[in-house]
Structures are given as C-alpha cells and as structure tokens.
Amino acid sequence: MKRVFVTVGSTSFDELITRVSAEESLHIFRSLGYSQLTLQIGRGAVVPEPFSADSFTLDVYRYKDSLREDLERADLVISHAGAGSCLETLEKGKPLVVVINEKLMNNHQLELAKQLHKEGHLFYCTCSTLPGLLQSMDLSTLKCYPPGQPEKFSAFLDKVVGLQK
C-alpha cells in the first residue's frame, strides 16, 4: 500500500489542503498508485471530510505529539516549507515535495527549499503547480540527505569557552 503524507507543521496552509483534497489531485494520486492520503492540517480552517472508498482512504488530523510514525509509513511527503518538517522528512530518507506558501511575506523558508532543491534533495513548487509536478517528477533522481553535524558545534564551543577535556 503506497501512502502520501501531507504536513503543514504548526502553521495553517488552507490553499495546500484544499488543493490536495480536490478531485483533480485525488485522481492523480490514484493514477500514481497511492491508496492512502493523510492530511496533517495544523491550525488550518479547511477541514476535508475523511473517507474510505474505491480502495482509497483519506485521513485528516490537526496535530500529533510526533509525526514520526506518519513520516515513516509514507512513500511520499508533501510539506510546507518549514525547516523542521523538511529536515525531519529528509533525515528519514523520504521523497519530499515542498509547497511554498505564497501568502507569506518575506518568505525566509523559501531560501532553504531552494538550496535543498539545488543540492538535489527535494522538489518544490506552489499550490497551483503541484498537480503538474506530481505527474512529471521522477523521485528516483532525489539524492540522499546527509544529516547535520552538531558535534562540530560542541567541539567549537568547548574550545572557545575553555572547558577542559
């Protein structure tokens, strides 16, 4: 069973939720072989009706203590551009599509999505270009994401504050 997980973190992103639960997108997911779509909608006002029909299931919820399980079970993750969501997904080695929220002014999240796309770790798009991307993208071209190295930070800090080894 192939699963798609959509997450907006602690924000609200009604355009994305509306777009992925629309008939056009559901049709695309089915044609790509996905049979489950889970929507984590955060603070959003749009709450699609969950259903289970024609061997396709739609689940909807606002928050969980940890998204770890849903991320682990997903075959494709569609996320807002929050750093936490992106990094957690990439660290689990899951294919990631980041959707930019054009309503956010001075969109600093966009810088990270662009950079990670440049390095070949994810695809990104807007709500309107999402359906086109879903149909044309090749997930096998995505590269593995090497995790960050906080030990470099602790080594640096220990040195500059004078902590004895």
Binding site: A83, E111, G148, P150, F153, L157, V161, Q164
Partner: protein, 236 residues
C-alpha cells in the same frame, strides 16, 4: 547657561564611557579554563526550539545548570524542553536530580555545587514581537521585554548565552551585554543563525552579529557575506 552645559557634558561623558565599555566587552575574547559553566538558552517558537535542542543535545554535562527562556505565549516549547531534559537525564548516569522552575529563580536553589547535576529552569518573558507585528509597536514591546530581561539576567548571571534567532533573544542579549558594560560579569554570547538562513540574515542576526562574541552561520554564502561569522557546516 552653565546649568544646561554641565548636565549635557556629563551626559556626553557617560555616553562615551558606556560606548568604550561596550567596545571593550564586545572585543574581549579571553579564554578562561574551567570545568563547568552555566548556560542560558533562548528558545523561540516552532523550528527555533527544535534547532536549539539539537545543538544542546551535542553538549556535555559540563554545561550546567541550564536556564531556558521562552516567550510567555509559547506553549509548545516548554513541552519540547521538558521532554529533552527528561530524555537526557535518563541517558546520563551522573544525574543527581531534576528541577523544574518558572521565574523567579529561587536564590537558595541556585547555589552552585561542586558536583555536576542536571538542574534546569524555564523562565518566561513577554514576546518582543509577534510575526507580522507593526514596527512601531515592536519598538514598544521590545523595550518592555528589555525592562524584564535585565532583572532575569542579573539574577541568573550565566557564563554563556546561546540563542538562534527569535525576537525574544535580542533583549536578552542586550541585557547580557549590559552586565559586562556595568562591570558586573562578562557573559559570552553565542548566536547560531537558523539553517533556514542561506543567503540572508534574520533581523535578530543583523542586530546581533555586531554584539555577539561568536556568530555561527550554516551556509557558505553567509560566511562570504559576513567574514566576521564562524562557519562550521550544517550543524542541525
């Protein structure tokens, strides 16, 4: 004429002394060997807290006690911090005991002991700026935050302040600098710019790059633009 001139000259002299003190405090990077140091961590909302906890996870137990400062409207960060500290206490066999406090810090409990332990404290201050808040009201709320930050910093007197960009950290860092300027204590200020910042600094970053002792960036573009910064690669 003299009654106006004297206070003006006096004020000017005080200002010059303060600026000189600020310059000395900002430039001094003496490394005093030590075995432990108290840490004050500014935890912003959402991703900021996640990032800073990843950094803290790599630090040894010598960084103790840990004082966390969060915005009063931030509910999720307190939960994340408590989970982080409980998990840390489980893994660390040298744990003596655990304490959880909201401000003000109890003076008796704050006394240092020779044995390293896993005490941590959570303090709350008003948020300096809500997302998309107007600039004029931001000045007022920031001044209000500074008014409350100084007593907190003065009470805690941390050896090190660590922050990664939320607005809450600016008043805290300025208060820490003030401790140095007034000759009370030199506090090391370490700022780590968020991994989201690839090409441009955040507003807090633009302010604190000149006031922090160590300003860490996570992408080479920023290191090129700001030679004063420290680049260690991606650390979260």
């Amino acid at each position: 004429m003299a009654c106006v001139l004297i206070p003006v000259v006096a004020a000017g002299a005080v200002a010059v002394v303060l600026v000189l003190r600020l310059w000395i405090v900002c430039r001094s990077q003496d490394v005093t060997p030590r075995e432990s140091l108290s840490l004050l961590v500014v935890a912003g909302s959402g991703g900021h807290t996640t990032e800073i906890l990843r950094l803290l996870g790599s630090l040894s137990s010598a960084y103790s006690p840990r004082h966390y400062v969060i915005a009063d409207t931030d509910k999720m960060s307190a939960d994340k911090i408590n989970s982080f500290e409980l998990d840390r206490a489980d893994r660390d066999p040298s744990t003596m005991f655990l304490q959880i406090y909201s401000a003000p810090v109890n003076k008796a409990v704050r006394e240092h002991s020779a044995v390293m332990d896993s005490r941590y404290y959570i303090h709350r201050i008003p948020r300096s700026r809500e997302v998309q808040q107007s600039w004029l009201s931001t000045v007022l709320t920031t001044l209000h935050s500074m008014w409350l930050s100084f007593p907190l910093i003065h009470q805690v007197k941390p050896d090190l302040v660590l922050c990664n960009g939320p607005g809450t950290c600016v008043p805290i860092c300025i208060a820490a600098l003030l401790l140095g300027i007034l000759g009370i204590k030199k506090v090391i200020i370490v700022y780590v710019e968020s991994i989201c910042r690839v090409e441009t600094l955040s507003l807090s970053g633009k302010i604190l790059i000149h006031l922090s002792d160590y300003f860490i960036v996570q992408w080479p573009t920023l290191k090129e633009k700001y030679p004063r910064s420290v680049y260690l690669g991606r650390i979260v």
